[in-house]
Symmetry: C2
Subunit: 368 residues, 2 copies
């Protein structure tokens, strides 16, 4: 292989695929990335056996070929080079890199030993502006479970409904986030898929700075996110996502409209005085506002009041403050609506006038 | 105690003293800071028994008094408050903090139990622009030893010479840095002090964003850095700093003038291909320039060439690359002068036309 490409493009491509690589004792080649000529372009790929990621960059291909090299040393070296032409050339299983008067020879492994990244040739089910889809995923995934003990909630539910909506849902059983994308797909039947959390985070990252459209295709137990010059393919999680509709309260006894930033600030201040369960209490006081309280035997206590419109019954709810902050941060609007349904019952959080996003936080038992 | 002050000033004062506090199993109060009214101002203090730091801020003192509180919770809470008036009020050993509708009660400890921070009333020996003194200290201290096994080099030598110069010197026996401040003091005799590395780092940090003058006074085994509203006092290290003049070479067989950034870039690239001893070689080639090489059995190798003016004999020197980068980074000029005196002999690094700063790096044995 011999190719010439630009340092900036190569650096960006390596950065994109780098996070998929990792140490694997049984398969050390997974800490390498695959560099391969593909017609008139250069393809940079990585896989962790669950996710496969390909990025194409323009290059002048002089001799076709492929090789794998450890990503860390390549990434460091390329990032340090000046913004100029870079020549990549294989010599047996070594990769020679030249840029101006800087030169490196990096020991690699044969591309023949690299795992094959599957392809999906099904036609796309969905096409969406990358930035919008990034935002939708990032509003939902913080509620997903990191734990492997319940694999069916260690991902984000993609629920395609017969009316054309796509619902993105995540929960770790302490909180739940739901984002609805209206008329997003042409399916005329229900279809539910669970996309692994790591995949969602990587896709969200890749889409974040793109002006393009992302196309999504599905085949058997694989999902493809296609962004023209970047393609991520992932396995899906097998299992049944919980019947989450049942835990979304339909009636409310207290209704609050409040400034989001003030509430987040108050909760953060309260968080400095919590016990091990991170407990902060919100008291919704009709005609007055929202009081935030916390108390630590060791450090002291905090109290704040935020004036706001509270209608209905007074109620005191105790939460792990992290769950509240995650939910509030993901509301796009500057004013939020809180809806409670009595002590120790779930609290619903929404942006004022935004019905596309819903966050439910489960209170903890009030031990006072 | 009851005082009113501004959130911004209080936050800055707490941030300044915070780094001096720390966990101490025998004396838990050392993780607290002392808050005390001092005539019309508020004094915030901390000590680790070796360094004492006082910061004064303007405040409206309604009731005099003092208290100590854990710095971490206070610092977090004050930093989260809006930029407005903050009321601090003691209630027995609690500190009540109020700002708009935010309120905290922080559990403290009696100020009577806090260690006394000594005072120095000697007249200052030196007065210098804070920014310039900050720069001088920061050019020197990276060469000091972090280890406690040789306490006499775990600090920076302040060498006041009879001609009025102040020499700041640090070494860890692998490299040495010297900065000369011309006509800096009125002493007509030699005086050498060793200031602990932690003190130098803290002083350098405090001086970095100040437009004021720093005054330095000495009494017995203590040194005072006085910046009007901020005073740091520290013990000195007892012992004799090595006779460092002897290791500064006086004659050179090779002389190089080179672009600093290019050389740093090349050394950084070489650093990705080093063995455990971080070895990078520089070859000074008369009529050509400086070659940088490194090789790792495992990863591969690097080579670069920088065109530059090399006079005298060709020589190859092998260094721990970190020592070279520390020295080059602290040269103020964009062009540097390297002076070598043969294989395995110290290399001198200076800024072109700057005789105030000198860095000496000791090569390692060339094992090739």
């Amino acid at each position: 292989m011999k190719v010439v490409c630009l340092q900036e493009k190569l650096k960006k491509a390596i950065n994109t695929v780098e996070r998929i690589t990792g140490k694997n004792i049984n398969l050390p080649i997974l800490s390498n990335i695959l560099i391969e000529t593909d017609k008139g372009r250069l393809k940079i790929s990585a896989t962790d056996l669950e996710i496969g990621l390909d990025v194409w960059i323009s290059a002048k291909v002089e001799i076709q070929g492929k090789i794998t090299v450890p990503v860390s040393v390549l990434s460091n070296f390329i990032a340090s080079l000046p913004q100029d032409k870079v020549i990549l050339e294989t010599e047996k299983t070594n990769l020679k890199v030249n840029c101006r008067s800087f030169e490196a020879t990096i020991k690699g492994l044969s591309a023949e030993d690299y795992p094959i990244i599957p392809k999906i040739d099904a036609s796309p089910l969905l096409s969406y502006k990358a930035k919008d889809f990034h935002k939708a995923l990032s509003q939902v995934h913080p509620a997903a479970s990191f734990s492997d003990t319940r694999p069916e909630i260690s991902g984000v539910l993609f629920k395609f409904t017969a009316n054309g909506d796509l619902r993105l849902v995540a929960t770790d059983s302490f909180r739940l986030a739901e984002k609805v994308l209206k008329k997003a797909h042409p399916l005329d039947r229900d279809l539910s898929l669970i996309v692994p959390l790591k995949t969602v985070i990587e896709v969200s990252r890749i889409l974040s700075d793109s002006e393009k459209e992302v196309k999504i295709a599905i085949k058997e137990n694989q999902i493809l996110f296609d962004l023209e010059d970047t393609r991520l393919i992932s396995r899906l999680i097998e299992g049944h996502f919980p019947e989450y509709d049942r835990i979304i309260p339909q009636e409310f006894t207290t209704d609050v409209e409040i400034d989001k930033k003030s509430l987040i600030d108050a909760i953060k201040m309260a968080s400095f005085f919590v016990t091990k369960v991170n407990d902060v209490s919100l008291t919704l006081v009709p005609g007055k506002g929202v009081d935030t309280n916390s108390k630590s035997q060791e450090l002291g206590e905090h109290h704040s009041s935020i004036k706001s419109e509270v209608k209905g019954e007074e109620v005191k709810l105790v939460f792990n403050y992290r769950y509240l902050i995650d939910g509030l941060n993901n509301v796009s609007k500057s004013r939020v609506v809180l809806r409670a349904n009595g002590k120790e019952r779930p609290l619903a959080i929404k942006g004022l006038g935004d019905s596309s996003y819903l966050y439910i936080a489960m209170p903890v038992r009030d031990t006072e």
